[in-house]
């Protein structure tokens, strides 16, 4: 596969993949913590599941912001394709950011993680 396709595909979907990684991590962490009995542990008074969720959220949001900034910079060689790619990336990034925020909310709002 040519580099340009892999690069283009990753650039177009990178923010969504960041959300996917965030989502899978939080889901798996919570499931394992609940099933194996670690969920009640705390770090500095904060439950490890909400804490892990917030760390993952910040990481995913950081990646998405970086991709959004990259999408709004530079002058692409192929004007038509470049404009399409940069605007699509911005739209994808915005949608991914909403999903990342929504994914973070349960960790902040849900009481009794494993109930």
């Amino acid at each position: 596969m040519t580099d340009s396709f892999v690069r283009t595909a990753l650039a177009l979907t990178g923010a969504l993949l960041a959300w996917a990684a965030d989502f899978v991590f939080v889901y798996a962490f919570a499931a394992i913590a609940c099933e194996r009995g670690y969920a009640a542990k705390t770090v500095a008074g904060v439950g490890i599941v909400p804490l892990a969720s917030l760390v993952a959220t910040f990481a995913a949001a950081g990646v998405t912001i970086r991709l959004l900034r990259a999408a709004t910079r530079g002058h692409p060689a192929n004007e038509s394709l470049g404009v399409f790619a940069s605007r699509t990336k911005v739209a994808v990034g915005a949608l991914a950011m909403i999903a990342i925020v929504l994914t973070a909310l349960p960790a902040l709002l849900v009481r009794g993680v494993c109930a």
């Binding site: 040519t2 396709f5 177009l12 919570a30 499931a31 699509t88 994808v92 949608l95 349960p106």
Partner: protein, 855 residues
């Protein structure tokens, strides 16, 4: 800038600009068109079943899918008749269970997924400006496996052996204890050929969309339907493997008593639900996104203005494709998942509504600013918009956990899913039938009948399904074959039944319209809607006379002379340059011409291979093992026979396609379309393996205490180290073979490298297997043993496959069909081989390292 402004700017620029000459001059050489027609001519009479051209296979495919729609619809009418009045004895409970199971299964597996692939097979080549998809025989094979196997599967109803566990086949209801007869086996193995067919179709579509677009058609100019099918292809690649694995595991449990889903032996029936819905929820979007893509094509043509927000629709398609993979457990709120998990899936369910809403508002905006032609497709579009919005809103209600707990397994859910599936997919499909029908025979279907059909279908649909919201709220559970009078459900059920017959009458009108007015013609020149996209160019069996140079997203509106230019042969490749069927392979992002692909022609081999595949799965279910093996051998023989004639090398000097471009007729390595197909196949394979490892980890999390559980032991680390070393040695051997082929070394040296590599792979597998066997691990005692042996069996399957591929590659080498510059076969074998090594190492890490880390 809006699309309309862009179009106006493009037209103005076109008027002011002195154009470069078209790729090929006039007059065209004498006999060029006749030769092209001869090469692509569709066989006549009974030989038409050997045709592989996308137009013929596409029509077969669409027709068969519609047949399954009718058959499953008849089953729905039987169910509604049974439920029309309380305490009815029209159908017994056993027949009712079989009928609702087959209704769901046939609708989802034999109608909904195949029909969207079918429409894509028919439309995409012309929409993209290709003469055909890159693997025509693969399309034909996918179709025949589906058609033959699907019809045989449906016939189980007539012999009383149809499955009766629901279309989701939840264990323990479907395990050997509670479903000892063969019904569940028919489902589990019968679905096998459909999975193969869907994945074959997805590979074809993904590679076709990315590599066979017309020169100049960059991703920015690609039709939205192609974008939708690209996303759907990727979703099939990642969405189908969990159900492939799930069906395998459940069938192994039923046949060999490996307890993956049996709680008292360490298994968990909820694991099945995860595997099923990891496929099942993306499946909803696999069905909906193509329909959304069709709508995005039809709306601008009907409104006579460019689509509003093209880029946002593409972004929305990508977002839905990814987000929908994270919704699977919202079907499982009632299983007792942790609160946080249910809330996560609820949040993801909310997130996916936003990109779906973007598409809806784009369509509404397009209709708003255009002058809508109120023809039959528009009627169906409006029915779609209203119905789908209602279905989407009840979906949001069901995504709210407490509401779902109340409505779970009631008729409210039945109402919701039909609003989404019929509203979101069937109405757009009928809009598409009326919109694209002129491409088949040159004339549209009857406007009058189309509008009657839409009115009947829409009315019948809402009369049937709207009351079900209320019946569900009143507590009527799904899947009951009858109910007592006086529960408040009687009148609502009767209304639903009457509505179902009105809906069926609407479908009948469409079928009569098709029978009366649809005629297949050879050459078609019928842009009856003044549509802007390439599929409306004059076309014949060969697609277009010449392959257009594309410089706009709505090429027929931006360049009104395009149809005449293409049809007179002034664009690319106006004849057959090599004397065979060809299309142009272009780069995936920018659509730059790279090489001319010589396509395979008509053949009986795909139908033989398809029949063999279907026979294998169906005869296996009937426990006719010898005949099943024969079916598999027939399928493999036919596939190898057709592969043997491919990978022909550079049989022809570079050919002039026009515009001064001389393209090679062969490519290998990452530029080759075949390499891309192999990569997509490995993504499927890797996802099956990931699903298997997910199952292994899942069983670990639900097993209390240590892992492995008490009474089980891990093999010594030395056996894992030995196996890993042998896998790496195998990898080195195949890399050595690659080096030898590049240096044009002797066939003997190549054979030695391949054989050493295979020997190392077999030895690695034996060491792994032996290590576990020596600990006394028994796959029937506990789910741990079952999971470990399942990983080893999956790896063993790969060793068998690379052994066959290695032998095939060497056979080609010794027949003089493999060389440094004719090496696609070797490259494909090497890719899968190296993947197998990676998978082997991953399995060792999971089985040996995790338990030691987790204690």
């Amino acid at each position: 800038m809006s699309s309309a402004e862009e179009l106006a700017r493009a037209m103005a620029a076109a008027a002011a600009y002195v154009e470069p000459p078209l790729p090929n001059p006039l007059p065209r050489p004498e006999g060029e068109l006749e030769a092209l027609g001869r090469v692509w001519q569709t066989p006549r009479g009974w030989r038409i079943f050997s045709a592989v051209n996308n137009t013929t296979i596409g029509l077969f495919y669409i027709g068969t899918a519609l047949l399954f729609l009718v058959l499953a619809g008849v089953l729905a009418l039987l169910m509604r008749t049974q439920l029309a009045v309380p305490d009815n004895d029209f159908l017994g409970n056993r027949a009712y269970n079989q009928i609702f199971t087959m209704h769901g299964t046939v609708m989802m597996f034999l109608f909904a997924v195949p029909v969207v692939e079918a429409v894509a097979v028919f439309l995409l080549p012309n929409m993209l400006g290709a003469r055909d998809l890159p693997f025509p025989r693969l399309s034909a094979y996918a179709y025949w496996a589906y058609a033959i196997g699907g019809l045989a599967f449906f016939c189980t109803l007539f012999f009383g052996v149809a499955p009766d566990g629901g279309w989701f086949m939840y264990p323990p209801l479907t395990s050997y204890t509670y479903a000892p007869d063969s019904g569940a086996d028919w489902w589990l193995l019968g679905i096998g050929f459909i999975e193969i067919s869907a994945i074959a179709g997805a590979i074809e579509l993904v590679v076709g969309i990315l590599r066979t677009r017309a020169p100049g058609m960059s991703l920015a100019k690609m039709p939205v339907f192609a974008w939708a099918m690209l996303v759907v292809g990727a979703m099939i690649v990642f969405g189908f493997p969990p159900i492939i694995l799930g069906t395998l595991l459940l069938e192994i449990e039923r046949e060999f008593h490996w307890p993956f889903f049996i709680a008292e032996k360490g298994g968990d029936p909820v694991l099945w639900q995860h595997l099923f819905w990891l496929f099942g929820h993306p499946e909803v979007y696999i069905i909906f996104l193509p329909a959304a893509g069709m709508v995005s094509m039809i709306v601008p043509a009907m409104a006579r203005v460019p689509l509003a927000g093209y880029r946002y629709i593409v972004a929305a398609l990508l977002a839905v494709g990814v987000l929908s993979m994270g919704l699977w457990a919202h079907h499982m709120y009632a299983t007792g998942m942790p609160h946080l998990s249910t809330a996560l899936f609820s949040a993801a369910s909310m997130a996916v509504t936003i990109p779906t809403g973007i598409q809806l508002f784009s369509w509404i905006a397009t209709l708003w600013r255009g002058e809508v032609r109120m023809a039959s497709p528009s009627w169906f579009l409006l029915a779609f918009l209203a119905t789908f919005v209602i279905g989407g809103l009840t979906g949001v209600m069901l995504a709210v956990v407490p509401f779902d707990w109340q409505a779970h397994d009631t008729y409210f859910v039945v109402a919701h899913l039909h609003y989404v599936l019929i509203g979101g997919m069937v109405f757009p499909l009928f809009a598409a039938l009326y919109y694209w029908a002129p491409l088949v025979g040159g004339t549209p279907l009857s406007e009058r009948m189309g509008k009657w059909a839409c009115a009947l279908m829409c009315t019948g649909f809402h009369v049937t399904f709207f009351p079900m919201h209320i019946t569900g709220m009143l507590g009527m559970p799904r899947r009951v074959y009858t109910y007592s009078a006086g529960l408040g459900w009687d009148g609502l059920n009767l209304v639903s039944t009457l509505g179902a017959f009105v809906l069926a009458a609407g479908v009948l009108v469409v079928l009569v319209d098709i029978a009366l007015h649809l005629r297949v013609a050879g050459k078609v020149r019928a842009n009856v809607w003044d549509s802007p996209t390439l599929e409306w160019l004059p076309a014949d069996d060969y697609g277009f006379r010449s392959i257009p140079r594309v410089d706009h997203r709505d090429p027929l509106w931006a360049r009104p002379s395009l149809a005449d230019e293409v049809d007179s042969g002034q664009h690319y490749l106006p004849g057959t340059a090599t004397g065979g069927r060809e299309t142009i392979v272009t780069s995936a992002v920018e659509g730059r011409p790279q090489y001319v692909l010589i396509l395979t022609g008509d053949s009986w081999l795909p139908i033989i291979a398809g029949a063999g595949t279907a026979a294998f799965f169906l005869l296996l279910t009937a426990k006719l093992h010898a005949l099943a093996v024969l079916g598999a051998l027939v399928a493999l023989g036919a596939i190898f026979r057709w592969l043997w004639a491919t990978d022909r090398g550079a049989t022809h000097a570079p050919v002039d396609i026009g515009d001064g471009l001389a393209l090679p007729v062969y490519a290998s390595g990452p530029q080759s379309h075949s390499w891309w197909a192999m990569v997509v196949l490995m993504l499927v394979d890797g996802t099956v393996c990931a699903s298997l490892l997910f199952s292994y980890f899942y069983l670990w999390t639900v097993t209390p205490g240590a892992w492995p559980p008490a009474g089980h032991a891990l093999p010594a680390l030395s056996s894992a180290a030995a196996a890993a070393s042998l896998w790496l040695a195998s990898s080195a051997a195949v890399s050595w073979a690659n080096h030898l082929l590049g240096r044009r070394a002797s066939k003997g040296a190549l054979a030695l490298a391949v054989c050493v590599g295979l020997a190392c792979a077999v030895a690695a597998l034996c060491v792994q297997w032996q290590g576990h066997a020596q600990t006394g691990l028994d796959p029937t005692v506990h789910a741990y043993g079952a999971a470990v042996y399942a990983t080893l069996a999956y790896q063993a399957l790969h060793v068998v496959v690379i052994t066959i591929m290695g032998a095939y590659t060497l056979a080609r080498a010794f027949c003089g069909l493999l060389a440094a510059d004719r090496r696609v076969t070797f490259d494909n074998t090497r890719l899968l081989w190296q993947y197998t090594i990676g998978q082997g190492i991953a399995i060792i890490a999971a089985v040996h390292v995790l338990p030691r880390l987790a204690g």
